[in-house]
């Protein structure tokens, strides 16, 4: 169970910045092995100069996402068997973000857009006040709950071709967070949010490609959230409030 069954050829993107190439390594294959384990093995035993990023290793921090055989995935919870259909494993840095080195990207643009989307709670009370009563079955609460467990891994951001083409586009994760706040009874910035998501890079640029929802490892549905924002913005526009 613990001994390697065979070795596996793994192509890994190496390079600094945008320039680089794939390099192939032979990695022993085990029963229980994630893509992150494969990458770690290469760094530990074959080429110590390989750079990548991870933290929690259980799908909670969202720092380990990479392109695996051309698809964006969290690598710490992607079992190798799930992706090795044709016996090839190709690992590259996450799409749509600047590469620092090898498999590590610079996630700053992703988070800058998060803030730009006003996806930050707008406080309506303080630590001196009681907590707001919110009924768990309230329709709005349920809408807010739907997207709340985002781990900001940027998998959706990498899956989206609108992000690839439109530098201003805020992207699915930031918009989903904005939608969550829009449905949060305690948020005092609804109008600010609507305005932020209705501008040049806003929700209206989404073409419902659905890659975000297809790949979100937390099984969230940013596409639905964005549709919600579009609807809310349309209503506001018709009422002359945008």
């Amino acid at each position: 169970m613990n001994s390697p069954i065979k070795t596996r050829h793994v192509a890994v993107w190496r390079g600094e910045g945008e320039i680089g190439h794939f390099e192939t390594y032979d990695v022993p294959a085990y029963d229980n092995q994630t893509v992150l384990d494969v990458v770690s093995h290469i760094q530990h035993y074959i080429d110590p100069s390989l750079s990548y990023r991870f933290a929690c290793r259980v799908g909670m921090c969202g720092s380990c996402a990479m392109m695996v055989n051309g698809e964006p995935r969290w690598t710490c919870r992607t079992h190798v068997n799930k992706v090795v259909g044709q016996d090839v494993l190709e690992i590259a840095p996450l799409r749509n973000l600047p590469v620092i080195k090898d498999l590590a990207t610079n996630m700053d643009p992703f988070f800058e857009k998060w803030v730009k989307a006003e996806a930050v709670h707008h406080s309506s009370s303080s630590r001196d006040d009681d907590m707001t009563a919110v009924l768990p079955n309230d329709a709005e609460r349920k809408k807010a709950d739907a997207g709340i467990e985002c781990i900001n891994c940027a998998v959706c951001y990498a899956a989206c071709d609108t992000v690839a083409g439109n530098a201003d586009y805020l992207g699915p994760a930031a918009l989903q967070r904005a939608w969550t706040l829009y449905n949060d009874a305690r948020d005092a910035g609804k109008q600010t949010i609507l305005e932020a998501v209705s501008g040049v890079g806003g929700c209206h640029n989404c073409h419902a490609q659905g890659g975000c929802s297809h790949y979100c490892p937390s099984e969230l549905n940013p596409m639905q959230a964005i549709a919600g924002l579009k609807q809310a913005a349309t209503r506001a526009l018709l009422k002359g409030k945008l």
């Binding site: 071709d161 609108t162 690839a164 083409g165 439109n166 530098a167 201003d168 209705s198 501008g199 040049v200 806003g202 209206h204 640029n205 579009k230 913005a233 349309t234 526009l237 945008l242």
Partner: protein
């Protein structure tokens, strides 16, 4: 590159065109059954205010709609933005509008070319 306004324009024009296009295709299916000729088309449309408005509305809508659509695509594919993109959008809309209007006028009100 789409703001809420451009988005709404594109959707509104789309909604407008949907019945127009369906109507047009319906007529075409009916019309082409016996083969099509200039005379036959013109016989139907010449001098008709109804057909003028029908197609006129379509041309206006499609000019706006397609210009916005192409603008989005151009931006996403080439990264073009700012003034140039604006010129492109207006250019597309106006050319489509002029071409379209000319065609409609041809089949409705204008006297046929001096022969």
């Amino acid at each position: 590159m789409l703001t809420v306004r451009l988005y709404m324009l594109q959707r509104v024009t789309a909604l407008l065109m949907a019945p127009l296009v369906v109507g047009h295709i319906g007529v075409m299916i009916y019309a082409v059954q016996g083969g099509l000729s200039a005379a036959e088309i013109l016989g139907r449309t010449q001098g008709s205010v109804f057909w003028f408005s029908f197609y006129g509305l379509f041309v206006l809508a499609v000019s706006v709609h397609a210009a916005i659509g192409l603008r989005t695509i151009l931006h996403e594919v080439t990264g073009l933005s700012g003034r140039l993109l604006m010129f492109f959008t207006w250019g597309t809309a106006l050319s489509l509008c002029v071409l379209g209007m000319r065609a409609i006028l041809a089949v409705t009100f204008l006297v046929r070319g001096v022969s």
